[in-house]
């Protein structure tokens, strides 16, 4: 039997139906991106008000960084939390004895990650424009590539987190919320990679998001597209997705040997 889009949709439908029945879940998706945007928007407004024009442009880079970083965070959390929802509802036993393949499960989680990310981030983007006059689209069509690069990185991290949940059970679930925040200092969200100590720069340059944010600063401050950074971002994403996908499949197989799929919620 081949991969079935219907099975992928079946698992996505389960999560979408849950959102339809629970408006607090929808509000929760939007809450943090909007809160982050409002706080950093005021910081940006303050800097623009008391500094000269150059600082004003630079301040726009801060709010752009916040909003784009939310794309990666919401993509990662959307994937990992959708998986955790199956554990919390003790439904995984039914899911894993259905003909749903592991890669179909991953495809459904990627689909839900996209839904959760857009529902969470798009209102923040709209409010950033209404409240502070910051439009992400001023960077041009390249912003679509920035979104894609950060979403892919979010999925790679989420695959790693999900693999750890398969290995360590629900005890590893805190990683679903925290792991990407831990990468923030090295992802060059608010400052260039060159600011980091020399020994730390290779670490930052191995993170796809660092190249997106270098590209964002090039677009906002210099009005150019940093194709080299974009190429590095997507190449790194392919490497990380491959590595984390292999880790996930390896842990899935190991969980079937240990019997962990039978009681993963415990």
């Amino acid at each position: 039997m081949k991969t079935s889009l219907r099975r992928v949709w079946g698992l996505m439908y389960r999560h979408l139906a849950l959102f339809r029945r629970s408006w607090p879940r929808v509000v929760e998706l939007m809450y943090w991106p909007i809160l982050q945007m409002v706080v950093w928007g005021f910081v940006t407004a303050y800097l623009a008000g008391v500094q000269n024009n150059v600082a004003s442009v630079a301040a726009g880079v801060l709010i752009g960084g916040v909003l784009l970083w939310e794309v990666a965070i919401r993509s990662q959390m959307g994937f990992a939390i959708s998986f955790l929802e199956e554990i919390w509802s003790r439904n995984l036993g039914h899911v894993f004895v259905s003909p749903l393949r592991p890669m179909e499960l991953v495809a459904a989680l990627v689909g839900m990650s996209m839904v959760r990310m857009f529902v969470g981030v798009l209102p923040a983007l709209g409010l950033a424009f209404l409240l502070y006059g910051f439009g992400m689209w001023t960077m041009g069509p390249v912003v679509i590539l920035f979104f894609a690069g950060l979403m892919m990185m979010g999925w790679a991290v989420a695959l790693g987190v999900t693999a750890l949940i398969l290995r360590h059970g629900a005890g590893a679930e805190a990683l679903a919320w925290s792991v990407l925040f831990g990468l923030t200092p090295f992802a060059a969200v608010f400052y260039p990679v060159a600011v980091l100590p020399d020994w730390l720069e290779p670490v930052a340059l191995a993170i796809p998001a660092a190249h997106v944010f270098e590209g964002m600063r090039a677009a906002l401050l210099e009005g150019r597209i940093a194709w080299g950074h974009l190429a590095a971002c997507f190449a790194l994403n392919l490497v990380w997705l491959g590595a984390m996908g292999a880790l996930f499949l390896g842990q899935f197989r190991a969980a079937r040997v240990r019997g962990a799929l039978m009681n993963i919620g415990e």
């Binding site: 439904n91 039914h94 040997v257 019997g259």
Partner: protein, 251 residues
């Protein structure tokens, strides 16, 4: 005609455990037959069912489900199998219809809404079809779990204590329904249960398990005659307390 389920030399030793949870299990279930899997806690029933469902990789042995080797072709088999257990929940916040729709998609069932309507009529789900699954009574939940297990019209059905925590009337209703379904469809059923009356009524043959091994097997009538008892519960107790006839046939 090949049996619906053939199990040969099935064993499972969990990592870092000395003793196998299941040790050299062999049996088959013919199409249209019901096999009962009996044993006390820790006998290896759950481990066996988990291996049959592909949740757990055996340490040794082979499972042929509906002609498909579970080691190499489990998804083809799983599409024609299904499973029900009161210990595995369905999402509580979703309605019964939404839950059934999810599994209709996962099992690639054509004519989803018609199939849900048919099951709702047959299993008397209509009064609560649009209520959240978490708000149902134990009897209603059991019928919903059964509907989920039948959504893909399985040729092989694995039932883990299908009438646990049900009142006698509802339990009897479920057993009658299963008897009728099997007669009409020719579905093979593997039933794990602690309810000996249920096993005696539904099963053509029974495997008695203890510490991962089959210690006796036969039809309910054969077991009663062999142990000189009036009901299967007494046979179960004889085996569990080591008062058996010493036939540990697999040992």
């Amino acid at each position: 005609m090949q049996a619906a389920l053939i199990v040969e030399g099935l064993s499972k030793t969990y990592p870092r455990r000395d003793r196998p949870a299941v040790d050299g299990l062999s049996f088959s279930v013919a199409r249209g037959a019901t096999l009962g899997l009996l044993g006390g806690n820790g006998a290896g029933k759950t481990t066996t069912i988990s291996m049959l469902l592909g949740l757990l990789v055996p340490s040794a042995g082979r499972i042929l489900a509906l002609g498909h080797d579970m080691a190499t072709d489990r998804f083809a088999a799983l599409a024609r199998m299904n499973f029900s257990s009161p210990y595995v929940a369905l999402p509580h916040r979703l309605s019964v219809a939404e839950n059934l729709r999810i599994y209709a998609h996962l099992y690639d069932v054509r004519g989803t809404e018609a199939r849900i309507a048919e099951l709702a009529r047959d299993l008397q789900l209509e009064p609560f079809l649009h209520r959240p699954a978490g708000e149902l009574s134990a009897g209603q939940k059991t019928r919903v779990a059964l509907a989920k297990a039948l959504i893909n019209r399985p040729d092989l059905l694995l039932l883990d204590e299908p009438t646990a925590s049900l009142d006698p009337d509802t339990g009897d209703w479920v057993r009658s329904w299963l008897e009728r379904y099997r007669a009409e469809t020719g579905c093979a059923i593997l039933l794990a249960s602690h309810n000996m009356a249920e096993v005696a009524r539904l099963c053509d043959s029974v495997l008695m398990m203890k510490q991962g091994r089959v210690v006796d097997r036969g039809s309910p009538g054969e077991l009663l005659a062999r142990y000189g008892r009036d009901d299967l519960e007494e046979v179960f107790l004889d085996i569990a307390r080591g008062r058996g006839v010493g036939r540990e046939i697999e040992a």
